[in-house]
Symmetry: C2
Amino acid sequence: MTNPVDPAWIAVDWGTSNLRAWAMGPDGCVLAEASSEDGMGKLTRDGFEPALLRLIGPWLAGRAPVVACGMVGSRQGWCEAPYRTVPCTPLDRAAEVLAPTTDARLRVTIAPGLKQTAPADVMRGEETQIAGALRLMPGYDGVLCLPGTHSKWAHISAGEVVSFQTFMTGEMFALLSEASVLRHGMQGGGWDEAGFEAGVSDALSRPERLGARLFSLRAEGLIAGLSPAAALSRLSGLLIGTELAAAKPYWLGQRVTLVGAERLSAAYARALALQGVEATRLSATDCTLAGLASLSPQIEGVPR
Amino acid sequence: MTNPVDPAWIAVDWGTSNLRAWAMGPDGCVLAEASSEDGMGKLTRDGFEPALLRLIGPWLAGRAPVVACGMVGSRQGWCEAPYRTVPCTPLDRAAEVLAPTTDARLRVTIAPGLKQTAPADVMRGEETQIAGALRLMPGYDGVLCLPGTHSKWAHISAGEVVSFQTFMTGEMFALLSEASVLRHGMQGGGWDEAGFEAGVSDALSRPERLGARLFSLRAEGLIAGLSPAAALSRLSGLLIGTELAAAKPYWLGQRVTLVGAERLSAAYARALALQGVEATRLSATDCTLAGLASLSPQIEGVPR
């Protein structure tokens, strides 16, 4: 028989599609982790507490407090944690919101996202990764790029998010490769580095032609034998290259750190390297946990 | 009791999503029309003949020949009508393909599409609209723009398609407005002309920033009260403007004719007018019927 998990606190990353939780020890180590597909997008307001209890119920004997970030704090989430406005620090303990709960073992606080007034932009969840990245790289000044469904680029100075910009690159890739006419020529495709690099260069040199280049992937598959791997990889390169073209003020001549999932970050790193930018890479999960730890009541008074 | 429809020939436009048919009189007038959702994308090879009979069975007493265009002639269609290669005339009677049929009343010919070797591109169905447009505007030299799911721009000279280019604008609009995160801020949206025009101008002046502007539609909805109509119309303007930016060699200083559905053509005409280009507009259905008529055996020997 194994000992029950008895965490000091519980970290929760609750996005639109997924719910992830980590049982954290007092020294910042992960005792256990769990995840489910009970994302914010699938739940009504009274579905959040049961979904969380299903996942972390076994960890609650010691009434460990829960610290959450992500879409769980949106207007359609468990309870709204109003956006803070940049320029500001990525997280602020005073702005956390206490979620309404009925189970006496639960105490759940939710971190607010960030908004930018002009140009209008918002983030929820990435602010926690940014806070974590700044704990992992104290004194960092430069740019953070967080690739994902909605990639974010953020200017960081003196511990604050000065400005940021969102690109729908990941969502466009999913829609185009899985739901558009292009899917026919991409099924079963692996990875083709040369195709990816060609797409990146192509998009960076003539970014305004993206719309024209997309259908070429289909046409080359039909009449020129383009392989699924080459088509999929070139699509990825075209979309990331187009993002880099628009985000140039963020990375040109700047110190850049990537915070993201392993494979996606590697692709961005390669695309940036082609432009002469050597980016540092941090794990998105490490940054999320470091960010949530900075809000964890259990380590108050402990040097961070 | 009404008289049965007894056409001289039957025109068929068979795309990926829909099947449309017209019973044509000997003088080119439409006696009856019918449509179904039996598009090529939903049928296996042996499903085409039954789908066609369901739609036009009542018109076949006189064994009228059927002339078809569109995706029905693709490799995944009823039977492949191999692409012809530009530069060439849009249609060529000698390249029609006879579909295999079992019902003795049926004689179905399929018009081939066009391909371009470099840059790789293909069309199926639009070549028939182009042929029809050239019958409606004899001696036309200039550019045809065919807005749609996959918009086509074609250079026309001396009765031939010299070159063409496809943009996925319509499909991107459908995916982004119905399947992406942007859909949340667009539901129930009507039309906002100022929002459309702002999107067009914005995209034409900085086309490389499309990826960044898309998420702004969501963010402005969340934090600045952007209405669904304004968001939807600006999305349309951004995508059409981005297409115009990449297609500039096609329309700048050229004679331009739009061939498309009423509302979509009107949007393209407005976007072009903002750039100082006054485009002629033709109905896509009129052009399809005029193009198929040029292949109809019934009017051989009749001056066209």
